[in-house]
Symmetry: C2
Subunit: 190 residues, 2 copies
């Protein structure tokens, strides 16, 4: 269950076409901090799951991990609460221009989001196409329909444009995905 250390840690992977040159992860962290400080929502990124195999204790007050491995996550990266509802999502960037490869999402992450949906929560993907600098929110119930009706190994950009919701660029919060949820799930006006 080890995985390759991937784009998640690659903070050098700056997209010069994006308006601010920030990764989606950094934008989401700033947005979640904004939601928290302004008492709008309580949503965190989960820590990266690691198997620790060696720990040293150079002093009583400190433990140093000397060997560990990245594990495949059982769930998604983000969850929390907004307006009393359970929120759960996975966020991914792609450099491709016309489609998002489904290999970026583990099948058990999709299964997890399906469970969340069935238990009354709000589950979705946030996908950023970095080259065109467009960020979409795709509800899990729409992704499940796509997977039911298609044998494709990627989701075309056009599918996001037609069935997903664009998350507008803002100054603060940078990735205001809760505004999309307001419109889609909480009866807000577009």
């Amino acid at each position: 269950m080890r995985k390759i250390i991937g784009a998640r840690y690659n903070f050098k992977n700056i997209n010069t076409y994006a308006n601010r040159g920030m990764t989606l992860e950094a934008d989401l962290k700033a947005s979640n901090d904004y939601y928290l400080v302004n008492d709008i929502a309580v949503i965190y990124k989960k820590p990266t799951p690691i198997t620790i195999s060696k720990v040293n204790y150079p002093s009583r007050a400190e433990a140093v991990i000397k060997e560990g491995y990245f594990k495949t996550p059982s769930t998604t990266d983000y969850n929390g609460i907004y307006k009393g509802k359970y929120i759960d999502f996975e966020a991914k960037e792609t450099k491709l221009k016309t489609s998002f490869p489904l290999s970026n999402i583990h099948p058990h992450q999709i299964k997890h989001l399906e469970r969340i949906y069935k238990h009354g929560g709000i589950g979705f993907l946030i996908v950023r196409f970095t080259v065109i600098n467009k960020t979409f929110l795709l509800p899990i119930e729409i992704l499940l329909e796509f997977l039911n009706e298609n044998e494709r190994k990627s989701i075309p950009l056009s599918f996001f444009e037609q069935n997903g919701y664009i998350i507008k660029d803002k100054y603060n919060p940078r990735v205001d995905y809760l505004e999309v949820l307001d419109n889609v799930y909480f009866g807000g006006n577009l």
Copy 2:
């Protein structure tokens, strides 16, 4: 923000007085697995937060962490969804017989649970007194009242007995805390 590696990793800390000699963490894992497999709830323990400072790549397919440190968690260990409600809790054991030291819970974890409560979620502590083998669920709103009215640095066992809810030992799930939530929050019958 480094912390001492603590009881969380001490699986040798087996309480011979407990009916099954399992740690609370192991009991909760088995219970959450039971809830998941039986489609009752989707509740996970979050990974331990770690700061990674060195990673080796012995092969393209594998990354080995060579240096890392434990971080103080920002939130609680457990969260998820049950009957459409957001669930969030911290679980602790104590070997003391008559009180639970508040030093076992970080102030920002209490603040986090308070936020969850205010946003419409269900937040609580699960505390096991290992020597007498009693496990209690204490809702955050009751803990906050206690903290408002007391300057004490520990919560007496008698407070748990009078204001908390005992979680009965069972075969499966071992720590059926959702049964308590049914009674307290979902209008079930005791």
